[in-house]
């Protein structure tokens, strides 16, 4: 029990990245921006990511409390902190963690010199965690029902999902015209571990109804389900091994497989007015390896002991009745999980024409370069309850020919003062980028409700170098 709560609290702690990558989105000097829009206007002769260092990103977000609220070393009793957080949270508050690590990636132009078709590919590993604050069950565990007679504790508040997976992807994008870039990406998912408990319902209800024979009317109606894949063997007593190693092995070599699709485009109304949109991770995983589903389903009405003073009277066992009414069942059915699907869109207006230092850009197709761009972005992601939505305003500037800067202001359910800064620079053929979200919170990260960062190193041979 205690362990369970610890795990719950600790995992809450690490769960706070929204998956919004507002800084990377449409930051086209970074090849990885095609991971958030396969139709991004990215061009190269070829590139490859430095293995393991090409794309590292992590997001942590918690909408109703920060690490400081829970773990501050300030003399306040830990239990008071937990109670405060539960009291100040609602079942719509959530904690999220997302981590991605690119193992390798690369891309090249296909066709001749004048071709504007590009292929990109790679493998990355991803960890996702999402949990809503289980407000009612937490109150029940913290306070009991004595002061909550008449309240129905909602078991649907238990809503959590977690997954570790690897993704092998191949993408293609093509400039169909000067105005239009279209791209798509196919993904093969391999899920090493999944735990999903998002379709719960039921209640625990204690009330007093005049005229009924007993003092209280007490009903538990339970429809709880936890589906796991790739985890069952770790819970067995005879398991001897290294959980992390085994999950990593399963993630890359023996996972539950799934398929997904990304698609996106970039459209220029004018040279300096651009619209983009993309859909990412439209896909599913067919959870089939080492699956185990645990359910507690049934209804139970607790009456207490009830002597009836008759001779033919079988004694009743209250707790046995409970276990019969709401049994723990273990099932071994395959199940399908949908990937959290993301939608991005942006509008960008550019101004301030660049006066290139280069003598002459003799290519007929040379486009005007603008020094500044401003615009807005929208992000939406599917979640078990309501979708997550964020709005971003951004400013982007070319500081030098090969050094770009992007600043964002993002509004979402985690924060209304999220300022992000990103830099992407190219020295020779080496491209380095670093994107940091919620920079105001870095004064004291422990008080942040959400944080995200990404960085990576690529080797790029640009298109102009033929």
């Amino acid at each position: 029990m205690r362990k369970a709560y610890l795990i719950l609290m600790l995992s809450l702690q690490f769960v706070c990245f929204s998956q919004n990558r507002q800084l990377l989105y449409n930051f086209t000097s970074i090849p990885q921006s095609s991971l958030v829009n396969p139709g991004a206007d990215v061009s190269y002769k070829y590139y490859f990511g430095i293995p393991v260092l090409s794309g590292i990103s992590a997001n942590v977000g918690s909408s109703s409390f920060s690490a400081y609220d829970l773990f501050a070393n300030n003399g306040v009793d830990f239990n008071d902190k937990v109670r405060n957080i539960v009291n100040n949270s609602s079942n719509k508050d959530k904690a999220q963690v997302n981590e991605q690590l690119e193992l390798f990636s690369g891309g090249f132009r296909v066709g001749g010199e004048d071709s504007q078709s590009y292929v990109s590919f790679g493998v990355y590993q991803e960890f996702d965690f999402l949990m809503y604050v289980p407000k009612d069950p937490a109150i029940f565990a913290l306070y009991g029902n004595k002061d909550y007679v008449g309240k129905s504790f909602n078991l649907a508040d238990i809503n959590v999902r977690a997954e570790v997976l690897s993704v092998l992807h191949v993408g293609f994008h093509k400039k169909l015209s000067e105005k239009f870039v279209l791209g798509g990406r196919a993904k093969l998912y391999s899920s090493g571990a999944n735990a999903t408990s998002t379709r719960n319902s039921g209640f625990i209800y204690t009330t007093q109804i005049p005229g009924t024979p007993n003092l209280y009317t007490q009903i538990i109606s339970s429809n709880l389900e936890l589906r796991t894949s790739g985890l069952a063997k770790f819970t067995k007593d005879e398991y001897e091994g290294n959980v992390a190693e085994d999950i990593a092995h399963n993630t890359f070599f023996n996972g539950s497989l799934g398929l997904g699709l990304d698609a996106g485009f970039t459209y220029y109304f004018r040279d300096n007015l651009q619209f983009t949109a993309s859909i990412i991770d439209l896909g599913f995983v067919n959870q089939s390896k080492d699956i185990e589903t645990i359910t507690y389903k049934g209804n139970y009405r607790y009456e207490g002991a009830n002597p009836i003073f008759e001779f033919t009277n079988d004694p009743e066992d209250v707790f046995d009745d409970f276990e019969k009414a709401i049994p723990r069942d273990t099932l071994y059915n395959k199940y399908t999980t949908w990937r959290p699907t993301k939608l991005y869109s942006s509008v960008q207006y550019s101004f301030g024409e660049s006066r290139s230092d280069e003598e002459c850009n003799c290519k007929a197709s040379a486009k005007k370069r603008y020094l500044n761009a401003i615009g807005g972005q929208m992000f939406a992601m599917t979640m078990p309850n309501e979708p997550f939505i964020a709005f971003t305003a951004f400013y982007r500037r070319s500081i030098f020919e090969k050094l770009d800067f992007k600043a964002t202001y993002t509004l979402d359910s985690y924060s209304s003062k999220n300022i992000g800064l990103g830099l992407s620079g190219t020295i020779g053929k080496v491209n380095i980028y670093a994107l940091v979200d919620n920079v105001l919170e870095y004064r004291d990260v422990s008080k942040a409700n959400s944080l995200a960062f990404q960085f990576g190193i690529n080797f790029i041979v640009p298109e102009s170098e033929d």
Binding site: L101, T206, D317, D444
Partner: protein, 183 residues
């Protein structure tokens, strides 16, 4: 090579998290102090005996029943229970006086504790009696935790005869407040 990459992942993650190092002083050991102190209310026992079930010529009469009570079979509940309070309420609308006994029995049917409640005969008006709360702590709680059965004795004292037309009921209701500390 692949194993190498896998080994590097945690190191890189740790490195990445070092980015978050400007931070207030946090103390993760506090989780050891986590202490849940819920208080639950629950029904304990109830019965409702009609006068017509006690047809009687006016002499004393005793009926009893044993109910198994396996709440303490659950180790988690037994280990974390620190206090219990039982409340009893009796409503008597039968023209006879009663003595109600509730006995706690252990696995060998030995009586651990016996509580007795006297109920006067009904004359007119309301006859609801709320008995003082029984508080179980320390040694008394230890005895309670050995309980596996509850025995109820209803002893009817002498008085007017009861037949199939006699009116009234003896209603017994009880509840428990359960104080738990989970560490």
């Amino acid at each position: 090579m692949k194993a190498n990459i896998l080994n590097r992942i945690p190191k890189i993650l740790v490195f990445a998290f070092l980015f978050f190092s400007c931070s207030s002083d946090l103390d993760f050991d506090q989780t050891k102090d986590l202490r849940l102190e819920p208080v639950f209310v629950a029904n304990l026992a109830y019965f409702n005996v009609a006068a017509t079930q006690l047809i009687n010529d006016g002499s004393p009469q005793v009926v009893s029943d044993v109910q198994s009570f396996d709440a303490f079979k659950d180790e988690f509940f037994r280990d974390n229970l620190v206090k219990a309070e039982f409340d009893f309420e009796v409503e008597n609308t039968i023209v006879r006086a009663f003595r109600i006994e509730m006995l706690l029995l252990d696995a060998n049917d030995q009586t651990l504790e016996a509580n007795s409640y006297s109920v006067p005969a009904y004359s007119a008006g309301s006859n609801v009696i709320k008995f003082p709360t029984e508080v179980y702590e320390n040694q008394r709680l230890d005895l309670l935790k050995q309980t596996v059965k509850l025995k109820f004795i209803v002893a009817m004292e002498s008085g007017p005869p009861l037949d199939e037309h006699s009116k009234g009921n003896l209603k017994f209701r009880s509840s428990a407040n359960v104080y738990m500390v989970i560490e």
